[in-house]
Amino acid sequence: MSFLATQALTRRFGGLTAVDQVDFRLEPGEIRAVIGPNGAGKTTLVSMICGRVAPSAGRIQFDGADITALPPWQRVARGIVYTFQITSVFRNLSCFDNVALAAQRAVTLGKAPWHPVDQHALTSTVAQALERVELHERSDTPASALPYGHQRLLEVAMSLALKPKLLVLDEPTQGLSEAEIANFCKLVREIAADATILLIEHNMDVVMELAQRITVMNNGAILAEGTPAEITASPAVQQAYLGA
């Protein structure tokens, strides 16, 4: 069985079917990119996987269990972590406190709310997460004082502190400079060493460099799926999306 599998997953918004009976599979450890024109249903699909949007029909299985009916916080507890498309760090909090908010969730999972937080575990989880994105020297800086690119990294650090098994990145490189993008790709590969990555991305260079497999969506359905080479060669994809 796959690590993540959806069966006939559907979401309708009024008369519009944003995602139409999608069967999507993901194997453990892979970096998968989902691409497609605007309105193809990419964000709706991953939102259903994370639990932000409830499916109209269909099922989702993750890590051997049916999670279709689980609320988002229980999915986070099982290891599905979503990184927002629009940077949504807590601007008034320092980098440390931002990550601590995530880490405190991770270190208290499954414990009663009045159970004291293991401060040592909390601090080291935060420090590790900040170090992985190379923000450990700016621990005390308020998030609002960081340049945009660093805010995105902080966002990733918050996700890492949750110890994801499946990390969903929604257009992570939007608004980053060339140099920042290169750095970001390196980071994603490092994260992929112990997590599966699902990436929605418009920047084709990033997709080609990172993804082992690519899923192309169009009009709420999966149009094609394969290795980057297969996707670039596919006439259907070229016609619908790449426009070549």
Binding site: C50, R52, P71, P72, W73, V76, A77, V81, Y82, F84, S88, F90, R91, N92, L93, D97, A100, L101, A102, Q104, R105, A106, T108, L109, P113, V117, M158, L162
Partner: protein, 315 residues
């Protein structure tokens, strides 16, 4: 971090010390005013936990103040409870009541939450008047002076009242400080900033909001119970929309999301209403104007503006 904690301790400690010392210099009239203001500030602190720290705007908080007021007042009047039991009963009953209201009202958010809480409060107000036989909502109940004794202390004695109000205020202040420094408090502030994000960090935000509402209700109810016991009067006016709006005004004026804001707001509004009602019958127009001016020019309130300009460490 350490420095800001020390400064915060020093600030709140000296605020309490000033309130303690004021009782020796205030003339009797203001002495009694300050007693009410401290009790009302506890109500404000309760309200602030919800609006200032969790970002939930309730327009019906008078129902919690009145719940504590009536639970304690009717407890004394009908069941012959002593003041200490009546106070605990009032606060505990409001905690349960606020949790029940929260289970329904927190299914909504934003404007709908404002409307739902306001409807609940109006329903409470009308219920108090409807069961007039029991509540004497329209004319009110004056509590028996003999019943308002704790051991050898009489709640009619101004010094006793002042110091009990101070103890209650100090308790609320400490509870609020502890709450916002705790990990639960950090999650509440994060919900205020961006609830969607907090959900995706794995938090069951509904539970946190319910806890905030229950604690907010607990403090509001404790203030109501204390008010009934100290001033010996229980009436439906305390459940009216006016008292919901007052809490909002105190918090906005003093600074929403600041620990001392509700005290400063309650103090200024109390005297503003006091002075203007001497001059004119229509003092409510001043209350209204204050609300408009605040929203336009001082959206962060007094302490909120101070924090923004120079005192960034202010909790």
């Amino acid at each position: 971090m350490q420095g800001s904690q020390h400064r915060s301790l020093a600030l709140h400690g000296s605020a309490l010390a000033v309130l303690f010392l004021l009782q020796f210099v205030l003339p009797p009239y203001h002495h009694s005013n300050f007693t009410s203001i401290m009790v009302l500030a506890v109500y404000g602190i309760g309200y602030n936990i919800l609006i200032g720290y969790t970002g939930l705007l309730s327009l019906g908080h008078a129902m919690f103040f009145a719940a504590g007021l009536y639970a304690a007042g009717l407890g004394v009047h009908y069941l012959g409870l002593d003041p200490v039991s009546a106070f605990i009963f009032g606060a505990a009953a409001t905690f349960v009541f606020a949790t029940a209201v929260g289970l329904v009202a927190l299914r909504t958010s934003g404007v709908s939450f404002m409307i739902v809480t306001m409807m609940f409060a109006q329903a409470c107000y009308l219920l108090i008047l409807y069961f007039n036989d029991v509540t004497r909502g329209d004319e009110g109940i004056v509590l028996n002076e003999a019943a308002r004794q704790i051991g050898g202390l009489s709640l009619i004695d101004p010094t006793v009242r002042y110091n009990l109000a101070l103890v209650l205020f100090a308790g609320a202040l400490i509870l609020c400080l502890v709450l916002i420094r705790s990990r639960v408090g950090r999650v509440l502030v994060a919900i205020r900033e961006n609830e969607e994000r907090v959900k995706m960090l794995g938090y069951h935000t509904f539970r946190y909001k319910l806890l905030a509402l229950a604690l907010s209700g607990l403090l509001s109810g404790a203030a109501g119970a204390a008010y009934a016991l100290m001033f010996g009067y229980v009436g439906a006016t305390f459940a009216s929309i006016e008292y919901s709006i007052y809490a909002l005004l105190w918090v906005l004026l003093g600074g929403s999301g600041t620990v001392l804001g509700p005290l400063i707001g309650a103090l200024l509004m109390f005297y503003l209403v006091e002075w203007t009602s001497e001059v004119t019958e229509s003092y409510r127009i001043v209350v209204g104007a204050a609300l408009v001016l605040l929203t336009l020019f001082f959206p962060r309130g007094i302490l909120g503006t101070l924090r923004e300009k120079r005192l960034r460490w202010l909790p």
